[in-house]
């Protein structure tokens, strides 16, 4: 699953650690999601999208093979 978390973070000018704090996970979790190494649960994906003021499908996108 692809995502634009890094881009959206840049728009809001917040670090991985700040985003992690807002959605109550570790910085490593945000890093793993950004790198595409971990696909978050629906609940976490919704929390992240809410921080950016967007819908989940605007932040996360299915890839071929998902």
């Amino acid at each position: 699953m692809k995502n634009i978390i890094r881009v959206e973070r840049a728009v809001l000018n917040i670090s991985q650690a700040e985003l992690a704090e807002r959605v109550q996970v570790t910085r490593q979790t945000i890093n793993a999601i950004e790198l595409g190494k971990y696909v978050p649960s629906a609940a976490l994906a919704m929390k992240i999208a809410r921080v950016f003021g967007k819908k989940v499908e605007e932040v996360f996108e299915l890839e071929d093979g998902d």
Partner: protein, 158 residues
Amino acid sequence: MKNNLLISHRWKTPGWVLTIPATLAGLYLLFIEEEFEHLCITVPGWLDTVLWIDGFFLKDTSPTLCLLDEMIAVSLLVGLLLLAFSKEKVEDEWIQRVRLESLQWAILLNAVLLLLFIVFVHGTPFFTVMTFNMFTPLLIFVGRFYYILHLKPLFSKN
């Protein structure tokens, strides 16, 4: 994600305090094979059957029981259990996945190592293998879990 088997983060420190000295003492005892006499007690003969000190067929009237190896093994097991089952400060879903992967690694690697040792180690040295094997699943789990969470990020650019 709720995991009711996990205990408080505060148990990590006691876990390390038990595990590190017990590991060092265990390796020392395994290779030096020294007994500390002040930790040896003489138990009544009738207790031999209950505790199975010398086995059912080799009974002394008053066998000696040296407690050092038991103390080390209990400390190591309790320490490793505390490390394996205590929560991280923030226990999130990615950490839960690292836990699951580490458990899978531990079971798989332990089985592969055991298979190799069964094939290549025979006789009395196999007893040493079995001694290690009592602790390897937890050791591999704890090693892999803490490597991914705390050591790998130190070497990673991201």
